[in-house]
């Protein structure tokens, strides 16, 4: 391992004088290498339940890698990751909602067909209704258009609906506000604020700090794969 990867960051909970009794996600000295490139370098951070963390950082800072590792879609090269009090992420994936840059839905199906399909892959009784969840994100379930004919903003909403349908305890959103108009962002932020009140945790990455400010309990800044700072936010919702 490269020498700089062996340098430890100060655990963030200590640096903030916060000692969470529960954690919904915990990274301990996590590094992730892609060939010789280190996307994450010895990152240690604990995420408390019921809070919204806004991840900021330049392109290549490691935001998406951090989310994918927490989602259990990517294994860390070094370090330990746990979610929901000690579970390995890949074993608890069904309790995690992950929204990527891409819509993660089928272009050839309508919004409602996509929702019904993904809902059928979970235990049906524990999921939100496919039509209700589309309405919640501001989409018309009766819209006959396939997803391929949706605008970028509508795709983002449909993608959020897919994530919400299984009522996840941890919501990981990678650039959820990209390509969305201000009104749609405002609606999404209000929806996320409602989601967070159910003791569920949100981690979202964005380049537009101001848009996420109303729900940001913490602002985590990453720089070249390391944690640069963790500040308390001033949520208004």
């Amino acid at each position: 391992m490269r020498p700089e990867l062996l340098m430890m960051d100060v655990p963030l909970a200590e640096s903030l004088d916060v000692t969470p009794t529960q954690s919904v996600g915990r990274l301990e000295a996590v590094s992730r290498l892609f060939g010789s490139f280190a996307a994450l370098r010895q990152v240690s951070v604990t995420f408390e339940p019921g809070k919204c963390y806004v991840l900021l950082g330049e392109n290549g800072a490691g935001k998406s890698t951090l989310l994918r590792i927490l989602a259990g879609l990517l294994l860390p090269s070094a370090g330990k990751v746990t979610v929901f009090e000690g579970q390995e992420p890949h074993k608890a994936r069904h309790r995690i909602g992950y929204m990527s840059h891409a819509p993660m839905l089928y272009d050839e199906l309508t919004g409602l067909e996509n929702m019904r399909y993904f809902r059928s892959l979970y235990q049906t009784e524990d999921c939100l209704d496919a039509e209700d969840v589309l309405r919640q994100v501001g989409l018309d379930p009766a819209l006959p258009r396939t997803l391929g004919q949706y605008s970028q903003g509508m795709r983002q909403r449909a993608s959020l609906a897919r994530v919400l349908i299984s009522k996840p305890g941890l919501l990981l959103l990678d650039e959820p506000f990209s390509n969305m108009d201000v009104e749609s962002v405002d609606q999404m932020v209000r929806l996320l604020a409602k989601f967070r009140t159910g003791n569920r945790t949100i981690l979202l990455t964005t380049h537009q700090r101001d848009l996420a400010a109303p729900i940001a309990d913490f602002i985590l800044k990453l720089r070249v794969g390391r944690v640069h700072s963790l500040e308390r936010g001033t949520p208004t919702l």
Binding site: R93, Y98, A102, E108, L121, T146
Partner: protein, 239 residues
């Protein structure tokens, strides 16, 4: 069971058959709307059959000897073009990651994909078959009904392997080249059994044991389908 952190009920996996049905329904619906797989396979297979009929005299008695091979190879080449695209929709827009996040597991997804590909190839064969028989002026001299056993068994061998290896090669940059390179050598025993069985049925050669080829195809299908089902989860999680 209630989790302390979120108060959420633990999700339980729905039954395997329900999951297979959900995946299958989705695959069929998408193909019904796009008709990408069936159209590309059909035109390619027709092209191969026509080209072979121009290269050889299709009315000669000898055509009976090679007809089985031509039909099987036409199906094989045509299927590869569709199998290469079998997981393309899951890769596009990272749908595969969304599926990995669900509790459904890999085996129902794989089995449904094999079933849908089997249906698509079978539809092509049903359309191609009569054209092929007319062009090659074929009259089976053996037990013609056995074709209804041999061809589906051979097709299943092709799509089960093809779907598995297509998944294995999806993250490769040269996946279109890689799939036939892996698939053809492994499919060779099934192809041989299929060609020999079809030839025996067409020529009515009583000295050749058709039933032995059918048993070989059946055994091949069971072994490769089981192994693929068991290994698909690992393939799905490969980074």
């Amino acid at each position: 069971m209630t989790t302390p952190t979120t108060g959420q009920t633990e999700l339980q996996e729905p039954s395997w058959s329900k999951l297979v049905f959900a995946h299958l329904q989705k695959d069929l619906r998408i193909e019904w709307r796009s008709r990408e797989a069936i159209n590309s396979m059909l035109f390619f297979a027709l092209l191969v059959v026509v080209l072979f009929s121009m290269a050889f005299d299709p009315t000669a008695d000898a055509s009976r000897e090679i007809a089985g091979g031509v039909l099987c190879v036409a199906t094989l080449f045509a299927s590869v073009s569709a199998l290469n695209q079998a997981w393309a929709r899951e890769i596009r827009h990272q749908v595969l990651d969304a599926l990995r996040m669900t509790p459904s597991g890999g085996s129902p997804m794989f089995f449904a994909k094999v079933l849908s590909n089997f249906l698509f190839v079978s539809i092509v064969q049903v359309i191609l078959g009569p054209i092929f028989f007319i062009m090659y002026n074929l009259h089976p001299l053996g037990e013609a009904w056995l074709l209804a056993v041999v061809i589906p068994l051979g097709t299943w061998a092709l799509v089960a392997n093809g779907t598995f290896f297509a998944a294995l090669s999806i993250r490769s940059r040269n996946r279109e080249l890689l799939l036939p390179l892996i698939l053809f050598p492994i499919f060779l025993p099934a192809l041989l059994a299929m060609v020999m069985a079809v030839k025996t049925i067409l020529t009515g050669d009583s000295g050749d044991p058709t039933h032995l080829w059918i048993k070989l195809l059946g055994g091949y299908d069971i072994i490769f389908t089981t192994v693929s089902l068991l290994l698909f989860g690992t393939v799905l999680e490969a980074e």
